[in-house]
């Protein structure tokens, strides 16, 4: 059954009200889980049009619905057993329509990983 709920607030079981804007603003507006090895490919996503494999451990996520500005918040993660870090590449590569991410292994060199995830929160255009 299709329907529409319009509400300014949501009440918790404990009787506390929260504004629905908390839910809307606090939700990831784009996310992706992809395989960064072999011929890279997304496993699942929301609001992602494509991935660009730039080089080893260097990828770009291209959005379908651009963000309103480039001051959004993005988090990168990836699998590793050796102290890997997933990072945003730079401020310059955080654009409204795409975000570049890097993954590293146990050294300072970029490396490819089987599970790379990006979650982005912010205002949509």
């Amino acid at each position: 059954m299709a329907g529409k709920i319009i509400a300014d607030t949501i009440e918790t079981g404990a009787g506390a009200d929260i504004s629905t804007s908390y839910v809307v603003n606090g939700s990831a507006k784009a996310w992706v889980n992809f395989n960064g090895t072999g011929t890279i490919a997304a496993r699942d996503s929301l609001n992602v049009a494509s991935l660009t494999d730039n080089s080893t451990g260097d990828y770009k996520v291209n959005y379908s619905n651009s963000f309103s500005n480039d001051d959004y918040s993005a988090t990168v993660s990836a699998n590793s057993s050796s102290g890997l870090i997933g990072t945003l590449e730079s401020e310059a590569t955080m654009l409204t329509g795409s975000t570049e991410v890097n993954t590293y292994g146990g050294s300072i060199s970029k490396s490819d990983h089987a599970v790379v995830c990006l979650q982005t929160l912010g205002d949509l255009a």
Binding site: K29, T39, S45, N47, A49, S50, S55, N65
Partner: protein, 152 residues
């Protein structure tokens, strides 16, 4: 499944509808391109949920909308998009074939300098291929280039 009449519906809401109702489509097409002589070849990979939207039709905005937003963002005094309504209020494009979807994606997510004159140099700057045609391991990934033997 019939796409609802999405004209004027926020693109985000259309994408959420597609995510819930359409089967993701994993394309075998890949786009290999070079946009800098100092860098290795890059590979554009379509997203399966996006491909489902493209094949379904009535969800995605025309590609020129993205070009307009990119022009705005390139302005030195850019702070935030003020023409985001173009994404939501422009009539969505109809169903595309897989090949048409790849062409759309090239114009959306590859640099214009690549796709506008991809075959004007001594060798092509861009090649559309199947994923089986790419190297199966990422050995020497940072040295991958488009072969000069590939005919345009």
């Amino acid at each position: 499944m019939q796409t609802p009449d999405f004209k004027g519906t926020h693109l985000w809401d259309r994408l959420c509808w597609a995510k819930e109702n359409l089967e993701a489509y994993q394309s075998d097409y890949r786009v290999v391109y070079e946009d800098s002589i100092d860098e290795c070849a890059k590979i554009l990979v379509p997203d399966p949920n996006w491909m489902a939207c493209a094949l379904q039709g009535g969800i995605l905005p025309p590609v020129w909308v993205y070009h307009e937003l990119a022009k705005d963002e390139a302005q030195p005094d850019f702070k935030k998009h003020t023409r985001g309504y173009l994404l939501h209020e422009t009539e969505p494009v109809g169903a595309m074939t897989e090949e048409e979807a790849i062409e759309y994606l090239i114009m959306k997510d590859c640099p214009q300098s690549v796709w506008q004159d991809w075959d004007s140099g001594n060798r092509p700057k861009m090649v559309i291929c199947r994923k089986e045609q790419l190297p199966q391991t990422r050995e020497w990934r940072n040295a991958w280039r488009i072969s000069s033997e590939i005919a345009a």
